[in-house]
Symmetry: C2
Subunit: 124 residues, 2 copies
DNA sequence: AATGTCCGTCTACACCTGTAGACTTGCTTC
DNA sequence: GAAGCAAGTCTACAGGTGTAGACGGACATT
């Protein structure tokens, strides 16, 4: 459920669209990250071994599908991150961002709206 | 400015109270993490080499001080985390948490209050 | 002065991560 | 059927990380 940076780049593509062939992924990651085909192949193998991807044979090649859901990985990563830096709490994170002027007014408003919605259809 | 989990444990103690001797840190981390003295010593060396700590000689031993500020490390870590998982935005993080019922009502209220305060003394 | 203590430094080692070349083998095309 | 292409697998290797033992020398204690 833990994904290093480079493997995450692969997963991100497959979370947007699946299945994909290695060819497609190699092309995209070659463009966006400048990776050699071998690099992408290695990452695919590692992801399959750890169970993050499913590879289904289609003739000579494989089709790759995510086996881990993005939302689960996000939850995991978020928990770890908040634990590490903010005692597991969200509010201190927001306080930090606002104190350091990293919270743009637009973002602040979006957040306020989101919270208002949450308050209204509480258990919806 | 990047700190792995284990080094962060050391920094966290020194951010709470500085300076401290290795002895003090070894004791605390021995209790909380079950680390051997050697482990703590290694981490201290690594932190000094990378410039995260300052070590000032005091007779036979060293006094250790943070050379990196916690808030800077937090900012760095937060940026990286938000970039990796939420397109660099805070709102999607909050949305995710609320969708997954990880946002306790108390936390939601605390957040709402914080935002209200921000809105009021905007540039204070 | 001899000896023991303790601190900091060196060395160690396995596993993870980033990055990629070499090789094998099954299809495809002439 | 031979030759080539390409997909997947093996091997590689440096640097980071978690974890810790061994060692050398400065101080303290007898």
């Amino acid at each position: 459920m833990q994904l290093p940076e480079s493997e995450l780049a692969v997963m991100d593509l497959l979370w947007v669209e699946a299945p994909q062939t290695s060819e497609s992924l190699i092309t995209k990651l070659g463009e966006t990250r400048g990776w050699q085909p071998s690099t992408v192949k290695t990452l695919l193998s590692r992801l399959v071994s750890k169970g993050a991807l499913r590879a289904e044979r289609d003739g000579r090649r494989f089709m790759y599908w995510p086996a881990w859901q993005r939302s689960q990985c996000v939850s995991q990563a978020t928990r770890t991150f908040l634990e590490s830096w903010f005692g597991g709490q969200l509010t201190p994170l927001v306080a930090h961002l606002s104190q350091h002027r990293t919270l743009r007014p637009a973002e602040r408003k979006a957040l306020a709206n989101l919270l208002r919605d949450l308050e209204n259809n509480r258990d919806a």
